[in-house]
Amino acid sequence: MSGKVYPIPGGLHPAEYKDISNDRPILVAPLSERYVVPLRQHIGEPARLLVKPGYSVLKGQLIGAPEGRISAAVHAPTSGRVIAVEPRPVAHPSGLPDQCVVIEADGQDTAVEMQPIAWRDLIPCELHQRLANMGLAGQGGAVFPSHVKLAPSPIPIETLILNGAECEPWITCDDRLMRERATEILQGAEIMRHALGASRILVGIEDNKPEAAQAMQAACDQLKLGNAEVTVVPTRYPSGGAKQLTQLLTGLETPSGKISTDIGIQVFNVGTAYALYRAVELGEPMLSRIVTITGHVAQPVNIEARLGTPIEELIRLAGGELPEASGHLIGGPMMGFELNDTAAPVVKAVNCVITKNLALFPHHPPAMPCIRCGQCALVCPASLQPFEMYWHAKSKNFDKARAYALLDCIECGCCSHVCPSHIPLVDFYRFAKSEIIAADRASQASEIARQRHEFQLLRQEREKREKAERLGKKATERLDSGAVAADDPEAARKKAILEGAIERARQAKEAARPQNTENLTPEQQQQVDEIEARRTAPPQDTETQA
């Protein structure tokens, strides 16, 4: 059943904590009273707002259209009324609010008409266009708009990899999804294979999920998928990183600064394949996802929640948080971030909410100086030198940090996890990376400003030259036409020019008359007269304002 597994560098095996949430079936969340749907749930431009407060919407109705090339659509999760469009708390490491559409559910859950897509009859290009408004975004964590990844690419895609590794501790949403809905996932993969023109499908699942691997293999056999293989990979974090899984399954390493697409491999999360199946076979845009609610709660469980459901409701569905809870994490403990406000909604990126307590997540011990032990370099899955990057990031020497390939860091957190000095290395990388990206953006903006300014100077110069040429030409024409008095040529020339200009202005004034004043009916004429009367006697204040 299992294909070949290639070795990858680094990685580690943190305590899993998966068995506390993976033994119960997926719970479908009941309808909420209110949904808060952010317009930015994906990487790229936020969706363009299509509704206003007071609008009635149906389930599956487009409320935000994709804006620009890399963007995804946003849909209403249920039927109801838009009661506000305003900044609301969202699940983001900054804790800043973001623009959201607040929908009050009417309880009917009336859906728009959903048309399945006959994908086998469509060429990949047409299928890509049909998917553009489906709101699909990668559910593994990066939330890259899926239709962009499914677009025909200049590099032929040979292999499609389904990522079911789910290597982060605590998270079990992909595990449950594969156990319960394997057939749908693989049908989604088949659609992906068609869209990409790929020849083979590889499914990577860690060996701590034998039930999921069996279910996927059974579904594979049942659907009689050709050239598809379910491969069980060793449980070693971060095997679920796109580059890491690619190397595990194919032995191909993604070059620095590139993505797996550049070497002819496209990686999708199993949840994304499932969402694509629903979008194509049922015509349903992405309205929900599976979220693991775990940690210090009464009954840890996976919940199928509509996008926009407040996270606090899901925690209530999981039995509520137990006493002495000390906060919440979005995502896993390795790469996740603190949630400031549980009123924040579930979005396409939220795969897990962990309620913390001090026993499971003690305070971070104070950082001590780096002792150059090299542990971080041993566990780095990207084969970087974390301690070097740390020194340069800490001293804000960003050029040096970049030279050590900081931008190839996948922020997996292995180095911070093993650091005997408890240095939060990844925090420094994230800081340095966002400074580098901001500096790059600023230098792009200043380059554009420089080009525009130089073009403006060029244009002004050209206009000045053209005007001088035009005037010079006119003057010579006039001189040549003989309109020059014998006694004082210069004065006569100027006079002639002046007279000519006055005459032209007079003619232009006479020639200008309203075009639609002939053949008026008496009523129209009367209206015109009234307006004229009003115009000739204007009130004083409008006169002064103008």
Partner: protein, 186 residues
């Protein structure tokens, strides 16, 4: 003696002509130092340095006629980079030249009379409009130079500070809360 003089003169002539040819053949058009300085400047074209744009200021610095601390939009990092390039000590900003947060100009649509004066003032053509038509400033292109604010006869342009949002937010420099250290020590 004479042959030695002739040989030395001949060598001198040959080397001199090679140098003269190299001077002509490898001549660099423009001032490479001014280009390098110009690359560091933020290209806001705001004229706060007292020159008519970034390029003239860069050229003046390359000639050694202008100080490196006259560009508030470049901020402290800009001064640092200029000091490194020119091999001089960084200096603080002068009186009234402190850097301000990045902002963009916004036209009040109810007041604009469509006079085109701001269009003429904008150094990067970021204002869209025509005579007696409402003018709009393209926020992505605006460098925040404030040159359009003064010419407006009806004072309808104001500067708005670009606030931090989810899209331009940056990770902070990691700091450790003191209370945790106290707990650990206790």
């Amino acid at each position: 003696m004479i042959s030695a003089i002739i040989v030395m003169a001949a060598i001198g002539l040959v080397l001199g002509s090679v140098l003269g040819w190299a001077e002509l053949y490898y001549k660099v058009a423009g001032d490479p130092l001014a280009d390098k300085i110009n690359d560091i400047l933020p290209q806001t074209q705001c004229g706060q340095c007292g020159f008519a744009g970034c390029r003239p200021y860069a050229e003046a610095m390359a000639r050694g006629e202008a100080d490196i601390n006259r560009c508030p939009p470049g901020g402290e990092p800009g001064i640092q980079k200029l000091a490194n390039l020119l091999g001089v000590e960084p200096k603080p900003f002068g009186e009234g030249m402190a850097p301000k947060p990045k902002s963009v100009a916004v036209v009040d649509e109810n007041t604009c009379i469509g006079c085109t004066l701001c269009i003429q003032a904008c150094p990067v053509d970021a204002v869209v409009g025509a005579s007696k038509q409402l003018h709009v400033i393209v926020a992505e292109l605006c460098t925040g130079c404030e040159l359009c604010v003064a010419p407006c006869p009806v004072d309808c342009i104001h500067m708005e500070v670009v606030h931090e949002t989810v899209s331009n937010w940056k990770w902070r420099y990691p700091v450790f809360p003191v209370h945790e250290e106290e707990e650990a020590a206790a």
